[in-house]
Amino acid sequence: MTRTQFGEGACDKTRRYLDAYICNELLVETNHEVLRHLEACPACTAEVATRTRLRGRLKSAVQSLAVPPELPALVKERIRSRQSSAWRFLPSLPTVSPASQRWAMAAAAALVLSAGTWMTYPRPLAMPGVGDRPSQANYIQKISASVAGIFKSALSDHIHCAVFRKYPVNPPAIEEMEAKLGPEYQGLLPVVEPVIPPGYRIVLAHQCTYGGRQFIHLTMRKGSEVISLVVARKENGETLAGLTPAEDSHGVPVYRTSTDQYQIAGFESERYLAFVVSSQSGSKNLQLAAALAPNVRRLLS
């Protein structure tokens, strides 16, 4: 990490520093030199883009692994059971024999532990009933707490509108869905139709509101599995541009995040944010968003 001048063989020199450059580990002066070179060198700029893209794809692939929901409880149990075993070394009680003390301690520890377990373990979030709005709001708030703000509203609307819903046996007619979308957005239906994953069909297309925000919402369903395309007008300068894209779909950067249960992949046009939200695998969800991105963005532009 020393200061380096770039002159002849500048590409070679620059590329030796690219690993540190994309990690933001260069000294300020060296960083400026690299930036100056990149401004004038398309080949090195392309190499930076490739390395940055690889980094983003790697990160999203690793983060697509779902963590077992029971793991936090197992960790707590392990700690607390060891904690309880340490109680054997507490000072002896004067009127009870050592053997009885141990039994009493063990029984007390088991009692306290089981009570503590019952009271404090994070049980898996129970899915509220379709009509239980207050519990649903609580569930949505907890589930969406772990994702970045820009993804929150789409995830919330997906759960609120697509997950907590009783679907009729037969989906509404296409004309009815077009009417609910309105003339501005009914063009989404023919754009989505060709890329729907096998076995799914569109069962809902409308405009809805959640948390004071308006959404254009298309839902695809296969059995109990649902996928949402959630579109919202940008508010207060919202943009995904500061994040690392997971995919580039014909020039449209696609971004992704996830919770333990849901995958979210999004892209943007000048005025809209669009997200695909589902419980599919991270790669399938991203693939669908990438397949939708160019045409949906064109339509929203």
Partner: protein, 184 residues
């Protein structure tokens, strides 16, 4: 007295549990086995809880947990796996002046993870710590107890290996040959 250390446990859980997902994913990627990752992460938290008195509040709890994770992984690797360690000759700083191999356009998460699994463990660990967990070189060196120069060379070599393996994975599907031909 019975509950004397309970507040400390709560403090530990509040500080350490938010990093559980990152630790689990790192363990799973390094072991290539989710069930073993489960065991390792539980062990890491137990070890961390036991030595929480030595942890200084306000310092980097996440880096501290990762350091314990790597200690634990080394223990398990000796126990479970016959892992080839990196030889000194492999530590020589890579010449990264050449552009790496091209990356196929359409790669899935599965392709990426398959390629990553083929990168030798010590290089993979550094790539994961720097590129996925976004630790600095200095933090990574502290976690792995190696010099910063070793982190730099392993990162460079690891990233390059990942690109090569990724290209290999794509080729196994018949993807990317034309693209590579064009760029050659």
């Amino acid at each position: 007295m019975l509950f004397a250390n309970k507040p400390r446990t709560q403090e530990f859980e509040a500080a350490a549990l938010p990093h559980l997902n990152d630790l689990y994913r790192m363990a799973a990627r390094l072991l290539g086995d989710a069930a073993r990752a489960d065991d390792v992460v539980q062990d890491v938290y137990y070890q961390a809880w036991k030595s929480f008195d030595r942890f200084e509040p306000g310092t980097n709890c996440r880096a501290w947990l990762f350091k314990i994770l790597f200690h634990t992984l080394n223990h398990y690797r000796r126990k479970w796996l016959n892992v080839r360690m990196v030889r000194e000759s492999e530590e020589i700083l890579e010449n990264t002046s050449a552009a790496g191999p091209p990356i196929p356009q359409h790669i899935t998460d599965e392709d990426m993870l398959r390629a990553l699994a083929e990168v030798p463990q010590d290089f993979r660990a550094v790539v994961l710590l720097v590129d996925v967990e976004e630790f600095s070189y200095k933090e990574t060196a502290g976690i792995l107890t190696v010099p910063v120069g070793t982190v730099m060379s392993r990162l460079s070599r690891g990233r390059r290996l990942l690109r090569e393996k990724l290209l290999g994975v794509a080729h196994s599907y018949g993807i990317g040959r034309t693209q590579e031909g064009r760029s050659a």
